[in-house]
């Protein structure tokens, strides 16, 4: 019975009816750019969560990140970043297998072995000897299998996602062999999250300074980045403005 309930809940979440909570004062404006039409039925809730995330960032996360970036020399930051990236290699191995990218999967096994043995992952020796890092995750595996992104979701503390990527994150949490073998995995998760935030520090500052609508900017950037990992010729296929004589 419990399983049936879970399946039903999943189905309801997957097929959320296309009911938009968007402000009824808005008028539809046609656009040739598909990024304007991202499926976002939860916008008012998402906006509230984003405000909450910025509030938490302001009072707690940002000061920690600024202090860390001020104190830690560049090689230390790079080493920490490499360490957390290396922890993601087992998930990449699994993802590439499901994507049928066996060579990339083998490459990830090799990278993980070399970098872990030589420096516990803090130095990316594998890249230096020609084994370049290939980014992937379970969300991308689902995307490449034809699963649509579902509604855009802003997750408290974590940030922008969508139903497909969030499902991918849940699967990763359950199957990740590294995190599952660590006695207190929450430290790893917090460390990894803070490292990701530190890596995006300049971008977050930019969003604060030059955005006319932070929510739309973050949503657009999130989808562009994910699509660039899914689509071939992503840049070529991006919309370009019509030419007007200056």
């Amino acid at each position: 019975m419990k399983n049936l309930f879970k399946v039903l809940l999943l189905q309801i979440l997957l097929f959320v009816p296309y009911v938009s909570f968007a402000n009824s004062d808005e008028i539809p404006i046609e656009s040739s750019v598909s990024y304007d039409e991202i499926y976002d039925p939860l916008e008012p809730i998402n906006r509230a969560i984003l405000d909450f995330n910025f509030f938490i960032d302001d009072i707690a996360i940002r000061p920690v990140i600024k202090t860390y970036k001020f104190i830690a020399p560049d090689p230390v930051e790079k080493g920490v970043s490499n360490f957390f990236s290396n922890l993601k290699e087992p998930i990449r191995v699994i993802s590439f297998v499901f994507q049928g990218e066996f060579m990339k999967s083998v490459n990830s096994v090799g990278r993980f072995s070399i970098n872990t043995i030589t420096s516990l992952g803090t130095f990316d020796l594998a890249s230096r000897i020609g084994m370049a890092e290939n980014e992937t995750d379970i969300g991308l595996t689902l995307a490449k299998s034809g699963v649509s992104s579902g509604p855009y979701i802003v997750v408290p503390i974590i940030g922008p996602s969508n139903f497909r990527d969030l499902s991918g994150n849940v699967v990763e949490f359950l199957v990740d062999p590294i995190s599952n073998s660590v006695p207190n995995r929450s430290y790893v998760s917090i460390g990894s999250g803070l490292n990701s935030r530190a890596e995006l520090d300049e971008e977050v500052d930019q969003i604060r300074e030059v955005s006319t609508d932070k929510y739309e900017m973050i949503k657009s950037i999130y989808y562009q980045n994910r699509n660039s990992q899914i689509e071939e010729d992503f840049v070529q296929n991006l919309p370009t403005p019509k030419i007007y004589i200056e």
Binding site: N23, D25, E26, I27, P28, I29, E30, S31, V33, Y35, D36, I38, D74, K78, E202, D205, Q206, E209, V210, S211, T212, D213, Y215, E216, M217, K219, S220, I221, Q224, N225, S228, F234, V235, Q236, L238, P239, T240, P241, K242, I243, Y244, I245, E246
Partner: protein
């Protein structure tokens, strides 16, 4: 017949080659100038801002980008004066964005990787790098009235045009298509 075809092919190849050289030269020259402004820490802040402003005016297809961010109906609905005001406000906003983006960091070099052409738009693939890291940078460029103009910049797979289009569309939707409100929002930045 064969000779004519060969001649036509020869002319076409020569023309394409000449265009390639021309855009490569333009890119090398302008990217060098951009780096000089970016790395110029000696001057006062406002002097650097003026340099970015001149760079934006010379090299960006301002009208194409500004109008491209709007809907055709909004362009038709507004008078010339409002559109001109929007163009000028957008120019200041774009300069501020580029200034903020570039003036917070220094960079060693911009390396041209390759040039592709799609629908008459050149897509220039480059890397901008300093001693420790490298960032992927694409430029969409078109030849407008005999000079090359930038239509879009794509930094690490994030297009300036696409991102701003999302933001501007939202403001226009909320304001029932009022360009005046969009101008006011841009002036706030």
């Amino acid at each position: 017949m064969f000779k004519i075809l060969t001649l036509l092919l020869f002319i076409f190849i020569n023309y394409s080659y000449a265009e390639d050289i021309e855009i490569t030269n333009w890119f090398n020259q302008e990217s060098k100038e951009f780096l000089e402004i970016m790395n110029n820490a000696d001057v006062e802040k406002h002097q650097n801002y003026e340099k970015y402003k001149a760079f934006v005016e010379t090299n960006f297809a301002l009208k194409s980008i500004a109008y491209g961010l709007l809907n055709e109906k909004i362009i038709e609905k507004n008078d010339k004066e409002t559109l001109l005001r929007y163009e000028n406000t957008f120019k200041a906003y774009l300069t501020k964005t580029i200034y903020n983006l570039a003036n917070t960091s220094t960079s060693g070099e911009i390396i041209l990787k390759d040039i592709d052409v799609k629908d008459g738009v050149y897509i220039i693939n480059s890397d901008i790098s300093d001693r420790t890291s490298s960032v992927s940078l694409y430029w969409k460029v078109a030849k407008i009235k005999d000079s090359y103009k930038i239509l879009d910049i794509i930094v690490e797979n994030t297009s300036y045009f696409v991102t701003k289009k999302s933001e501007f569309t939202k403001i226009l939707r909320k304001s029932r298509g009022s360009l005046d409100i969009l101008i006011k929002e841009l002036e706030k930045i």
